[in-house]
């Protein structure tokens, strides 16, 4: 008896199908929790609006300040979703009790995590577009001189590095169910603090400022703001794009390696599931 021999193409098709399986499953879950989706969306919109309103009080260039804050809120929303969805992919399944069945499936771990990332990006973009559309109804956002393409390039590049961060964090719930999920929240809060989401990094206490240098969100915000507020051309965004790309290129393989190590540890120590 041998494993059913599949051609490389057949195998690739099966892995792609499984990737789709994760996207579809998460879509079904969102559908079932639609009430919560609407509530969270409402909260995010209100949150974005209240932050934008702070900008209105700014003396002089209120319009620019509003846009500055809206960019911060939108980007933070988007990056949080990616980080959160990817890092919670294990925690959620442990909580549901399905983790062993997902891990036992004859697929590559890359397929599993890739599917989770693709869904997170689609979901994050959808939510951000809705929030932006509503915010645009309230404020007259002036994007006349903005370099939209440049902003989009920065955003795509930073998704990659945030996927890497999410993969690193996803391993924590494998090691310890509750502690892991707690740790990912602390990490997320820390990134929010140091990355200059609503203010320039320079207003942080001096001893905190060096830490902002290692957060990919710092570069994302800087790049997108430069593109949208100052209309900086793509060429001048290259250093920022390069930093984000390099972070992704380092973090994604590192994240996968850490995850593989964590999976092995969980299988050795019996951390996946013990009852049933």
């Amino acid at each position: 008896m041998e494993a059913p021999k599949k051609s490389t193409r057949g195998q690739l098709r099966a892995e792609l199908g499984a990737t789709l399986g994760f996207v579809e499953r998460n879509f079904y879950l969102s559908k079932r929790y639609l009430g919560w989706e609407v509530v969270f969306l409402f909260y995010t919109i209100v949150n974005t609006l209240t932050i934008a309103l702070i900008g209105v009080t700014a003396p002089g260039q209120a319009g620019e300040k509003v846009l500055y804050l809206v960019i911060g809120a939108l980007l933070w929303g988007f990056l949080s979703i990616i980080f959160h969805d990817v890092s919670e992919s294990v925690a959620w399944e442990r909580w549901e009790g399905t983790i062993e069945y997902t891990f036992m499936a004859p697929i590559h771990r890359l397929t599993h995590l890739g599917g989770m990332c693709i869904y997170a990006i689609i979901y994050g973009i959808l939510r951000s577009v809705i929030v932006l559309a509503v915010v645009a109804l309230f404020f007259d956002l002036d994007l006349g001189g903005a370099n939209l393409l440049g902003a989009l390039a920065v955003l795509m590049m930073s998704s990659i590095s945030f996927i890497g961060l999410g993969l690193m964090a996803a391993v924590l719930p494998l090691l310890s169910a509750e502690r892991g999920a707690q740790a990912t929240h602390i990490l997320q809060g820390f990134i929010l603090l140091v990355s200059g989401v609503y203010y320039e990094v320079s207003v942080l206490p001096r001893w905190l400022q060096p830490i902002s240098v290692i957060s990919p969100a710092t570069y994302t915000l800087r790049g997108v703001r430069a593109a949208l507020l100052e209309g900086v051309p793509l060429g001048e965004l290259v250093p920022c794009l390069a930093i984000l790309a390099a972070t992704g290129v380092i973090l994604i393989p590192a994240g996968l390696a850490v995850f593989a190590w964590g999976e092995n540890y969980a299988m050795r120590a019996g951390k996946l599931k013990r009852s049933g």
Binding site: G17, A18, M267, L272, G276
Partner: protein, 287 residues
């Protein structure tokens, strides 16, 4: 097919030890207070020998039963075969393939039903099955249709497959779990107490289906249970496990016959179970 001599599943001298602190200690007076907490934090975890030097061979097409009380190591053994735990020592193979080194190939051949029906409870049976179909590379529509046919065979009303799983009884959920394990056509099926907690009718339906699958498909089954009637009915061969060790092994009829000699009034599998897993071991060859 080739390789008829290769056992469907085999274990040689497999061990699995978990290390864990005895959490009940935290409630003792001496571990209360700040100093007590510190002392508790420094306690060394205890070794739990869940599977201790177990060897077996399951022939192709056989239904092999593992019987033992709660906490005797049945689920741990199943997880070792299911590529969900790494053995500390020894080797487990499925159709000659090592479950550690050839993990992915093994995963193509197996599926498992656990005591708890592990599903996304908010999703419907159909949505859960569709997800499973995609993971196993089955076309989603034909795959789920096949699963629905299995479910109907198990006395499951097709219409219930569209509603949220959390509204179904445990027995119904377990039937979905059986369908999920079988629609991927595993050649080695791991059933970990599949009928525990089911009502007598559902139990019957699942048992009959297991026998039917074995008769009509090329499927080998490893089944754990603490239900003696079930083991007698389904299993070609049995092993009794206690505290992580196999204490006795054989065909149900042969085991009963052997024990009859020790018990002139006739032995049931239940007598054997109580004897070999109780404090007074009468089986020879174990300590």
């Amino acid at each position: 097919m080739s390789g008829n001599g290769v056992p469907a599943a085999a274990a040689t001298a497999v061990r699995k030890t978990f290390r864990e602190k005895d959490e009940t200690l935290a409630y003792l007076p001496e571990y209360r207070g700040l100093a007590g907490r510190w002392k508790y934090a420094r306690l060394r975890p205890k070794d739990i020998r869940a599977v201790n030097d177990v060897s077996f061979e399951v022939r192709r097409g056989e239904i092999f039963g593992i019987l033992g009380p709660n906490g005797s190591g049945k689920s741990t053994l199943i997880r070792l075969v299911a590529t969900l735990l790494l053995p500390d020592a020894g080797r487990v193979t499925v159709f000659g393939m090592d479950v550690v080194k050839e993990r992915r190939a093994v995963r193509h051949l197996i599926n498992r039903v656990s005591v708890e029906a592990a599903f996304f409870k908010k999703l419907s049976a159909l949505e859960n099955l569709r997800y499973a179909a995609r993971l196993y590379g089955l076309p989603p529509r034909e795959g789920t249709e096949h699963a629905l046919v299995i479910l109907e065979r198990l006395g499951f009303d097709r219409r219930k497959a569209f509603g949220s799983l959390e509204n179904l009884s445990r027995g119904m959920q377990q039937k979905v779990a059986v369908a999920r394990a079988l629609f991927t056509s595993p050649v080695l099926l791991l059933l970990d107490e599949p009928t525990t907690g089911l009502d007598p009718r559902s139990k019957r339906e699942v048992q009959e289906f297991v026998l039917e699958v074995r008769a009509t498909h090329d499927t080998t089954v490893i089944l754990t249970s603490h239900d003696m009637a079930e083991a007698d009915r389904l299993c070609d061969r049995l092993a009794f496990i206690d505290e992580g060790r196999f204490v006795t092994e054989g065909r149900p009829a042969v085991l009963k016959e052997e024990y009859c000699r020790l018990r002139p009034d006739g032995a049931t599998l239940e007598d054997i179970f109580l004897d070999v897993t109780g404090k007074h071991l009468i089986a020879e060859g174990d300590d």
